[in-house]
């Protein structure tokens, strides 16, 4: 086994124990860039609605690799590493824009919208002196391309030649969820960014842990809006790597009763003065009012009532990551609906009334697990053993699904000998 991986031991084959060191080790982080983000996966890149016209581009990040996503003259979408083939500089320095070519400011190497090297100034030197040798072949110096596939206007990219087609990778439940959220042309409402000083996997665990929703995020409980005993659950793909936590509007779980008397806070039943942002305007054919769909490895598609967004996780180091959220509605929304979505956005993001706690939760774990890398966190809510769909919210089984797939890609055998 790889020397770096042999430092930590997963004692349980079902990943119900996760060694702390996996979150803190800088060399594990380096290996993840190669085996996870550049491995056989599809990373969320951007929405086609962000680059509607030929020449439109946005610069994004996959893991920690800078990437340009753009639309070529023929309307096709392309993605390539934002690093000049010459001396390694960032080529496109703008966050977004429209251009005919991407030109590196350092020595003016220019790349077309498909990432091909289109121009090198002074290639022949001046008056036959200087410049590049005659054997320089521009076709060998394109920007490194990512494979690109798009589903209902959601663009994914992959560094891997081996990865299966996007829809197979997503699996039927997540193809259906993306078709559900992107059933009509979307309009971007804006971005939110959050810099969290912890390991990115503590965040990907967090979005696969429905159990914390009604215990950490007490806004809805305090104001009598929702409870952990509500009807809800988690849907996984066949491998368990993707997860969608869901809850249905106004439907208490069978059996009633819950355990809030065991928490420090309980039901305070305080009323909001202006609950208008909480109103859910039914806009999908089903009753789901909360869906948090996390696609391995780098994104989450969120529906919190009428607040729709996709979050892209961008890693900075083992100890820091950024969450970039793109909030959207539909082109067909009327002014009232746009206003409602903007107001309801108070619930989500770094200042979100039901989400701000996540930043703190990740950081307090990250700080406390600085030592004892071979000690473990406990992941047993919803039961141990095989990973499968969950019919209630008091579960963290999807975390194990993430880790089982993570271990497979990293080359770790959980439960194997130390």
């Amino acid at each position: 086994m790889n020397e770096i991986l042999s430092r930590y031991h997963f004692p349980a084959a079902d990943c119900s124990r996760i060694p702390y060191g996996m979150y803190r080790d800088a060399e594990i982080y380096g290996l993840e860039q190669e085996r996870i983000f550049r491995g056989p996966v599809w990373n969320y890149l951007a929405l086609e609605a962000e680059i509607p016209k030929p020449g439109d581009f946005r610069t994004v990040v996959v893991g920690d690799t800078p990437v340009i996503v753009d639309r070529a003259k023929d309307g096709t979408v392309h993605a390539f590493v934002n690093r000049c083939a010459h001396r390694g500089a960032i080529v496109q320095r703008q966050l977004h824009g429209n251009t005919k070519v991407h030109t590196c400011c350092y020595h003016q190497w220019a790349y077309d919208l498909q990432g091909k090297l289109a121009g090198v100034p002074f290639r022949r030197g001046v008056n036959g002196v200087g410049g590049l040798d005659d054997d320089f072949d521009p076709t060998c110096h394109s920007l490194q391309k990512l494979r690109v596939e798009s589903l209902n206007g959601v663009i994914f990219g992959s560094f891997s030649d081996a990865v299966e087609p996007l829809e197979i990778f997503l699996g039927p439940a997540f193809v259906a969820q993306l078709r559900r959220l992107f059933h009509a042309p979307v309009a971007v409402l804006g971005y939110q960014r959050q810099r969290i000083f912890g390991n990115w996997k503590l965040y990907s665990d967090n979005v696969r842990d429905p159990n914390h929703g009604g215990l950490l995020h007490m806004f809805q409980i305090t104001f009598g809006i929702a409870r952990l005993s509500a009807k809800g659950g988690a849907v996984l793909d066949a491998e368990g790597k993707h997860n969608m936590s869901w809850a249905a509007q106004g439907a208490p779980a069978a059996g009633g009763g819950d355990d809030y008397q065991d928490t420090a806070r309980g039901d305070m039943n305080i009323k909001l003065r202006d609950p208008s942002m909480l109103q859910y305007r039914k806009e999908f054919p089903d009753d789901l009012s909360l869906t948090i769909a996390s696609i391995f490895p780098n994104c989450t598609f969120q529906q919190i009532g009428n607040t729709l967004a996709v979050r892209q996780f961008r890693t900075k180091s083992a100890d820091e990551f950024e969450v970039v959220s793109t909030f959207f509605g539909y082109e067909a929304d009327d002014a009232e609906m746009v206003k409602h979505r903007l107001k309801a956005a108070n619930l989500a993001g770094p200042a979100g009334l039901v989400s701000m706690e996540d930043g703190e939760a990740v950081e307090i774990v990250h700080r406390a697990i600085v030592r004892d890398g071979d000690s473990h966190s406990v992941v047993e809510f919803g039961g141990k053993g095989p990973v499968k769909d969950q019919e209630n919210l008091v579960t963290d089984v999807p975390i194990r699904g993430f880790w089982l797939h993570y271990c497979k890609l990293m080359g770790i055998t959980p439960g194997g000998a130390a």
Binding site: M218, A345, P350, A351, M356, E357
Partner: protein, 151 residues
């Protein structure tokens, strides 16, 4: 008038820094609008904010939620205000200034948490100046950890 406006901004910052959020609410009129936007969205003409209260009741709810429901990093804030600009147009005072908010944890470690600009509309009510509108455009659009206490 300029010194009166300056006094209002300073009271605003002082009450936030002292965690007197309930008293801070009194600086807003009933039909107020409070919004925190990132410069990134403003520059692209995108309407999404980080925090949006389009009524005084929503602002009161924010404060109540912080007190009763939300969990966030334990910290104190320190505001620094500068470059106040004031103009009066038909009875409405438009005022703006730059701000910096430093955040410190319990162990006395401080970090620059947010910089940006206040853009306010101020009216006189019962003889005193109050905020009718507070629009905060943050340069620090990449929020460090989380944004709980109003800026």
């Amino acid at each position: 008038m300029s010194s009166e406006v300056q006094n209002l901004f300073e009271t605003y910052a002082r009450l936030l820094d002292a965690d007197r959020l309930e008293d801070w609410l009194d600086l807003f009129v009933d039909g107020c609008h409070y919004e925190i936007l990132s410069r990134e969205n403003v520059a692209q003409n995108l309407p999404l904010s980080l925090m949006l209260c389009d009524s005084k009741d929503m602002l009161v709810d924010r404060v109540m939620s912080l007190r009763e429901a939300n969990i966030y990093n334990i910290h104190v804030d320190c505001h620094i205000l500068s470059f106040l600009h004031v103009e009066e147009i038909e009875g409405v005072i438009k005022a703006g200034c730059n701000y910096a908010v430093f955040q410190s944890n319990q162990e006395g470690e401080s970090r620059l948490f947010s910089v940006g600009r206040y853009q306010a509309e101020i009216i006189r009510q019962h003889g005193v100046l109050r905020f009718k509108k507070m629009r905060i455009v943050v340069d620090t659009g990449a929020v460090l950890t989380l944004l709980a206490t109003p800026l």
